[in-house]
């Protein structure tokens, strides 16, 4: 049996034929759509490297069954920059040295975009740290990450940046 699903990925409609229902959203993005920005760290919901926005909400794509999300809208790290300009969160990560090896970074950035959209943390660094605790960084760039998230949030408020999601 095969299944055909349609997703809007980074603004573009994509139709995918699935020969097997076991495909996770992460594997679909990486293996079938060649969007390898989303990373597979643990594949078990424990690290956050696979974070994407699914219908506007940050989730772990490794624990989402692709077929269950037929019709959904997905935004990955590849979909943040616009017309060659980095998303404010991407820019702030560079300015604040918020990574070392970079493996966790796409997940961190997608998680930060989700966090800012949720509007629960405000400008309290403690709330930002707690809100970002689903993203582990083995290089321990946490200090820079917290600063980058706070800075990006400030800038997005000033510039009236509209969410890509």
């Amino acid at each position: 049996m095969s299944w055909s699903i349609t997703l809007t990925v980074n603004g573009e409609p994509r139709r995918v034929e699935l020969d097997d229902p076991r495909v996770t959203l992460l594997d679909l993005l990486r293996e079938r759509l060649d969007l390898t920005g989303s990373k597979k760290g643990c594949d078990r919901g424990q690290c956050g490297a696979c974070t994407v926005l699914l219908d506007g909400r940050r989730v772990n794509s490794c624990l989402a069954l692709a077929i269950s999300h037929d019709g959904a809208e997905v935004v990955t790290i590849e979909g943040l920059a616009r017309d060659g300009a980095l998303h404010p969160v991407q820019a702030a990560f560079i300015e604040h040295d918020a990574f070392q090896c970079g493996y966790c970074t796409p997940g961190q950035i997608m998680s930060a975009v989700g966090l800012i959209g949720e509007g629960q943390a405000g400008d309290d660094p403690e709330r930002v740290r707690e809100g970002m605790s689903g993203n582990l960084c083995r290089c321990a760039a946490y200090k820079g990450i917290t600063e980058a998230v706070l800075e990006a949030q400030r800038r997005m408020g000033q510039d009236g940046w509209e969410e890509a999601a």
Partner: protein, 352 residues
Amino acid sequence: MNRFDYLRPSTVAEAVAAASVPGSAYLAAGTNLLDLMKGGVVRPERLVDVSRLPGLDGIEALPDGALRIGARVRNADLAHDRDFARRFPAVAEALLSGASAQLRNAATVGGNLLQRTRCAYFYDPASACNKREPGAGCDALEGENRLHAVLGWSERCIATHPSDFCVPLVALGAIVEIEGPAGRREVPLEEFHLLPGETPERESVLAPGELVVALRLPPGADAFAAHARYVKLRERTSYAFAVVSAAAMLRMEGGTIAEARLALGGVALKPWRAREAEAVLAGARPEAATFRRAAEAALEGARPSGENGFKIELARRIAARALALAAAGTPERIPALPASPMAPVSGGALHG
């Protein structure tokens, strides 16, 4: 992961009929089920996807004062629902202390109730586990069992139930609404999860094909809103399961406790309501000595199931601390680090 058939029924009746076929499992967000399938811990032959079933996604105030929460309401949406968090602050705090923002955005009410134990031997198909394979034995008994149960366990299984959400819910007398092949029924959450006894493979009262459709908080459950807290001790600051946890709620009249609710997490294979402790508290003044006596009553029947005797005293202290925090009053806003046992009790000594 094993191969499976995938079905997405469009009504509750269709879902129940589909899942009544042996070998079926309901799929909600999949944050627990897919994890277990990837590890080969469970191998359902067909997944019945209930993540889009109509009628299961509302938070609804009922005319009698009860509140009904649909089974596929997301954990994050419930915790951030203003009216819900105002009426049931300890439940919101417990939800926000669980997992991560990403997982809470996906995880559903029904899936949280029915999540499986985190016992490492249950998770490892190469180990003996009576829950996975009845009669196989229990490798946790002689293994790494620091975090295992101290209440209600049996020689067959010493695992704990990992949910934070369920702890304040059981204290509030929540009711589980179930739809199944034999029709509709309701079960108090306190009786929903089963202790291991001789049959640790039976985890809840659900019969094959039965679907949790909603959870109900009974009328009057919001009378505790002014003094309600959840406290969760973790092995790291955040994004970790409870070592032990406690939900404490007080209804104050004048300077006395008119009615109290206390439940513990991480101590047994079900969220543990401590009715003996509630009796100690009723009519008493909110003082450290009373909280300690209540905590002792809550752990009265506790026994170590391995290298975990320390959890008994830890649970007493977390229970007493949750009571002290509840007595001090529900904070205006859920703290930056929800349910942290490290936060000082206002006006009180840190180690009361």
